[in-house]
Amino acid sequence: MELQKVERLARLCETCPKMCRHVCTTHVVTRSEADTPNERSSIAYRALLRGYFFPEEAPYMYEKCATCGLCLAWCETGIDVGEIMLAARVDLVNAGMAPAAAAAVQRNVQNQGNPHGEPASERYAAIMDEFQALPNTAEVLYYAGCDTLYRQPEIAKAALKVLRAAGVDHTMIKSGEPCCGEPLRLMGYIEDFKATARKVMDGIAETRARTVVCTCPSCLRMLKEVYREHGIEAPAGVEFLHMSEYLLRLTASGQLKLTTPVHLKTTYHDPCDLGRRQEIYEPPREVLTSLPGIQFQEMFFNRRDARCCGAGGGLAATNLELVIKASKTVVNLAQDVSAEVLVTACPTCKTSFHRQTYKLDDLKTMDLIELVAMAL
């Protein structure tokens, strides 16, 4: 079983008195002992010992863990329960026991190139003019990702606007940007994930870009780290950056000038895949606080301790109800510091928070790049 690869983690975690239950994204919502990091590991470990899963255990592997890494951040043993869940999902796929929602994600990526099942032809609908004007090859590649293009296209609009304003020689994958494959990995379709990863790398090679910039932390993590862990290498000499890191370079070199005051009270949410998973904590803060006129205050839980938007781990596909409840935790923290804008740097987080804040008069959700575009 794939779980054999994480046997040590699951075996140790089973003996823990649940020392990270107080931070677990989904446990703080459901409060069930079955939804603790420890019990998740225990279910997986028992399945490994017996050699198979009971059907009723499958939802606990798929629909309850946001793979947010909060447990890992609090675990002195260094156990990542998310990793155990991903191994369990591979085994469930292999056993033909993946839930329908997981199979739908796989089908959608295979058929339409995105996990949402939106038509492939509409990938660039919201940015068509800008997209068509882009060259085939350029120094910098902006990789937008499915969540940005289909759910939060304002992020892509803002990113292209900022790159243009800074005079950066940039493009997107003109032959059609493939999904980064993260949804497939999260759902346990590991071979399909590798196949799509190869397509992404081919697409990057076509553009001859030296720098790949992502606004989506999960895409970045796949391209920069996870592909390599699966033996898929990037074209030689290509550098992968999050937009916040790249913006810092552009402002430091004077290429990007941000002069229009943005009079807003903000706070910043660290996306799990950007913060805990890639330790990119300071660049987004530096960019945000450098905007003229901006006010900024940290939430009580920040950086390594930042709470999760709830939508990690593919939960938006498998258990949306749980995501909606979990995202309230962060929205409440933002309200505690009287922020007007909850700033994040991830399209998935933005979607999660927006589901809460669109009903509010005094709190909005924005991506960092949108604020930067306002300050041009």
């Binding site: 975690c13 002992e33 009723e56």
Partner: protein
């Protein structure tokens, strides 16, 4: 998982519960029932992992209000089915094990902080809050409730109250019993009672004390008002090495007698000093917290006493390290952990902590060590924390290895406890300072209480005539 055959009676009860709580707050899911078979005790967690058969609860319920708790208890009386309250499930004595199945009532959805009263230094909250969640909410406003057991990440207010727990700062701030002012309790028949949240009252006996330590046998504690403190300006540690345990005890006695109020005062016996600090002698770590001048003065006075007892000053580093890593020992380790209770060992273990006078502590340490080490495969190592003017608490890790079968593990477990409790009672101590009774010590309650146990049992029978509340615990009627 083998689906249990369900009776019509159970299905009717399920629907009664759904009517009270809504379908989202009642579960009969197989995986969920498995997750609630026990707590983190040897009997409640380790033994089921070794395939010892245990009853799974039939239903899990998550009430969100006092009214719902009350209605569930009424339904349980109608159906004459047990109810086991469950908070963090991190008890180490098996108090939250649903021995006879029935309903597990998880209180963790009752997690609201109702008021932080900064003028009068009180917080009122529901009892399902995990300890650290309350502490963070208070810290955000500049306060602490100063109850920091090692289980603050995994246990909750209901468990602290019903389990009579003690935090690592208890010498200064007290145990949970002296931190709580008022409580709301749902009695076994569903009636709701409250005690007044006042600094002190002479209006008869303090009923808080009937429910603190009641381990879910006398009702469900739903709300509590507790004392809070402004976060201290300074917390400073100092460690000393004493030539032997006796001189460390003498120093502790003098420190308490002089009215110095350490937050932490932790003495390791010679075995633990060697194991943890690689030192010959008895290691002491002490901390004071509060405003700077006071903390400095307390440390100066402590230093005088330590020197009188021929201690060597080790400075602040070991104490700082201990404080920063005070939860570390709990996380699972790959190997070399004497407390490893994984399914691949037949180790048997528990902390048989007890309390008594200074005279008791010294005698009991000697006698308990001698007695337990006679048992084959037994280890013994202790520390002493939680002090009072009159004495303190002893915390021995008692691990036994070499059992040949699962039955023998349980036999050895009780043999160890029988031997220890005999010594503790003979020397005038109490068999538990803060871990409580649960399944481990229920058989010794009559010896602990003597004649007065009948009184306690009759209170239980009066309040809970159908014996629905956590049956079999605290030495009350088995079902």
């Amino acid at each position: 998982m083998a689906e249990k055959h369900r009776s019509l009676r159970e299905s009717i009860l399920y629907n009664d519960l759904v009517a009270i709580l809504g379908v989202e707050n009642v579960s009969r899911d197989e995986v969920e029932r498995q997750a609630y078979i026990g707590d983190v005790s040897f009997l409640g967690m380790v033994m089921p992992r070794h395939n010892m058969e245990v009853d799974r609860p039939d239903f899990i319920v998550w009430p969100t209000s006092t009214e719902q708790v009350s209605e569930v208890l009424k339904a349980a009386n109608t159906h004459k089915i047990p109810v086991t309250p469950y908070c963090g499930g991190a008890g180490v004595q098996g108090a939250a094990v649903p021995m006879f199945g029935g309903i597990v009532m998880d209180v963790k959805k009752m997690d609201k902080i109702l008021e932080i009263d900064e003028t009068n230094l009180m917080v009122t909250c529901q009892t399902g809050l995990i300890g650290q969640a309350l502490e963070w909410a208070l810290n955000a406003k500049g306060y602490t409730y100063a109850h920091i057991p090692q289980s603050t990440y995994c246990s909750g207010i209901g468990g602290f109250l019903a389990g009579h727990s003690a935090g690592v700062l208890s010498t200064k701030y007290g145990k949970i019993a002296s931190m709580v002012l008022g409580m709301e309790v749902v009695l076994p028949d569903g009636r709701v009672m409250r005690t007044r949240a006042v600094p002190q009252s002479a209006a008869g006996p303090n009923l808080n004390h009937l429910f603190i330590g009641s381990e879910g046998t006398l009702g469900v504690i739903t709300e509590a008002t507790m004392i809070i403190h402004p976060l201290p300006e300074l917390r400073e540690f100092r460690s000393f090495l004493y030539p032997n345990l006796h001189s460390a005890f003498e120093a502790a006695r003098k420190i308490m007698r002089r009215g110095l109020l350490p937050g932490t005062l932790r003495i390791s016996d010679e075995e633990e000093s060697k194991e943890l600090y690689k030192q010959e002698g008895a290691f002491m770590t002490i901390s004071y917290d509060g405003f700077e001048e006071l903390v400095k003065l307390q440390h100066r006075e402590t230093m005088k006493i330590a020197l009188e007892e021929n201690a060597v000053d080790i400075g602040s580093a070991p104490g700082d390290r201990w404080w920063n890593r005070r939860f570390s020992s709990v996380y699972p380790k790959d190997n070399g952990n004497p407390l490893d209770m994984g399914r691949h060992t037949l180790n048997v273990g528990n902390v048989i902590e007890s309390a008594g006078s200074f005279t008791y502590l010294e005698a009991a340490h000697r006698e308990l060590r001698r007695t337990l080490l006679k048992i084959p495969g037994q280890t013994f190592m202790a520390h002493f924390s939680h002090w009072y003017k009159t004495g303190g608490m002893m915390y021995p890790y008692c691990v036994n290895s070499g059992a040949a079968s699962e039955e023998e593990m349980v036999d050895r477990y009780f043999r160890m406890h029988r031997a220890a409790v005999e010594v503790i009672h003979r020397l005038g101590g109490t068999m538990t300072h803060h871990h409580g009774v649960g399944l481990s010590l229920r058989g010794f309650m009559r010896e602990e209480f003597g004649e007065s146990f009948e009184m306690l049992q009759s209170i239980k029978r009066t309040l809970d005539p159908n014996n629905i509340m956590n049956p079999g615990k605290l030495g009350f009627d088995w079902r």
